[in-house]
């Protein structure tokens, strides 16, 4: 008993150590983001330094920290403190305060249409291709949920719904991060090359990159308007997660495992609904009322600074969480399915965003 307690206490201290690592790297990110342009002003590096945004420093420092901690043998023990989901969700609730509620209402129609069509098409494609390649139904459910809805959190919800194994969840989470990381940089480059407008770019990024943190990083690289639309689109996809998880529970109970036992109830739906979506909407409503009743605009700047701090912590955590090892164990088939689904998502997402957000004016 005492041994268990000592082990649990030690795990808590390692997790606290992990959070400290994230905060230190986050502070370093903020320092570099604010000072590198000043230090390099007037030199040949000046223009490049000015164009590098905080997600780049944060992810690079996260990856560097990852390599150092892995080399020292501490990374896995500290990993419990790399809370990407907590940091990104707190940042997104705060982001809600910078979006006028009227913009959310206006974007809701196309965002819901895009999320519904993308989830249906991409989930269907991934499920079908995984079946053709003979991938286990539970892993297919995890891969399809992760690629079509919202990355790691969708995989966690789907894993609970279909009672997947822990290694299947770890493997899917690794795939999500490995694919999300290059997308953060490639999608903004593609946005430039294709000359997309900010709303279309935001909708494309929001509908494409799996993990919510990476969506915010790519959106921030494109610009504030793209970040806002990307967040609205991604938040809408997150909101549909509960429905997919409940549908998967029912499908596996009645069709795959034929146990006939499934909790398809309002309670199950609420349990799986991502609550931060409510926080995001509430923050927007509160800030809109605050500003329209003559509130001080400068306090919203402070909220935006706080939001940036949490996004930085989330991006640092993405770099720290990156792991390639689980992929070696699962073979090429799931990687092939995930990669094909990502390309399919990219093309269908571009088509839908171009149609649904063509005339969007925030």
């Amino acid at each position: 008993m005492a041994e268990v307690e000592t082990r649990q206490r030690s795990q808590v201290w390692w997790a606290v150590g992990g959070v400290v690592v994230v905060v230190v790297l986050g502070a370093l990110t903020r320092y570099l983001e604010q000072n590198v342009p000043v230090f390099t002003k007037g030199t040949w590096l000046g223009d490049i330094a000015k164009s590098i945004e905080y997600p780049v420093y944060a992810i690079a420092l996260g990856l560097l920290g990852n390599a150092v901690l892995t080399g020292l043998g501490f990374r896995d023990r500290l990993a419990a403190g790399f809370r990407t989901e907590f940091f990104i969700k707190t940042g997104l609730v705060l982001l809600g305060a910078s979006i006028n509620f009227a913009v959310i209402v206006k974007a809701a129609g196309p965002a819901i249409a895009q999320a519904f069509l993308l989830i249906t098409l991409v989930f269907g494609f991934t499920w079908w291709l995984g079946g053709k390649l003979g991938i286990d139904a539970k892993l297919r459910a995890l891969l399809a949920s992760a690629v079509s809805i919202c990355g790691v959190s969708a995989a966690i919800a789907a894993a609970g719904a279909v009672q997947a194994r822990r290694e299947q969840l770890a493997y899917t989470a690794s795939l999500v991060i490995i694919f999300a990381l290059p997308s953060i940089f490639l999608l903004p480059l593609a946005v430039d090359a294709l000359g997309l407008s900010a709303p279309v770019a935001g909708a494309w990024i929001g509908g494409n990159i799996d993990t919510t943190a990476a969506v915010s990083a790519a959106g921030a690289l494109v610009g504030e308007e793209a970040l806002q639309i990307a967040t609205i689109v991604k938040t809408t996809q997150n909101a549909l997660l509960g429905i997919v998880a409940v549908a998967l529970t029912a499908y596996f109970a009645f069709k795959v495992e034929r146990t006939g036992e499934a909790k398809v109830s309002g309670k199950a739906l609420w349990e799986r609904f991502p609550k931060f979506v409510l926080g995001f909407l509430l923050a927007s409503v509160v800030a809109t009322i605050f500003l329209e009743s003559g509130g001080d605009k400068t306090v919203i700047t402070t909220v935006n600074d706080l939001r940036t701090l949490f996004l930085i912590l989330a991006f640092v955590s993405i770099g720290l969480e990156f792991r390639v090892a689980p992929l070696r164990e699962a073979g090429w088939k799931p990687i092939g399915v995930f990669a094909s689904a990502a390309v399919f998502n990219l093309l269908v997402g571009l088509g839908l965003a171009s149609i649904l957000f063509a005339n969007f004016n925030g």
Binding site: A27, R30, R83, E85, F86, F87, I88, K89, T90, G91, L92, V93, L94, G96, A97, S153, I156, A157, A159, G160, Q163, A164, R165, R166, E167, L169, E271, P274, K275, F276, L278, G279, L282, A283, V286, A287, F290, G295, D296, T298, V299, T301, T302, V303, D305, L306, L309, F310
Partner: protein, 43 residues
């Protein structure tokens, strides 16, 4: 810990984290709007 327990633990943690993030975000927003958390305190 069995594989299923591991997934259950991940799910509970995700649910708690979801609530924690929502609460933290809204509390921070309230503190800033009420000017209890001033701008100079945010780096």
């Amino acid at each position: 810990m069995s594989a299923e327990d591991g997934v259950g633990r991940e799910r509970r943690l995700a649910l708690n984290e979801d609530w924690a993030a929502t609460t933290a975000g809204l509390v921070l927003l309230a503190l800033v709007l009420a000017k209890i958390l001033p701008g100079w305190l945010v780096p």
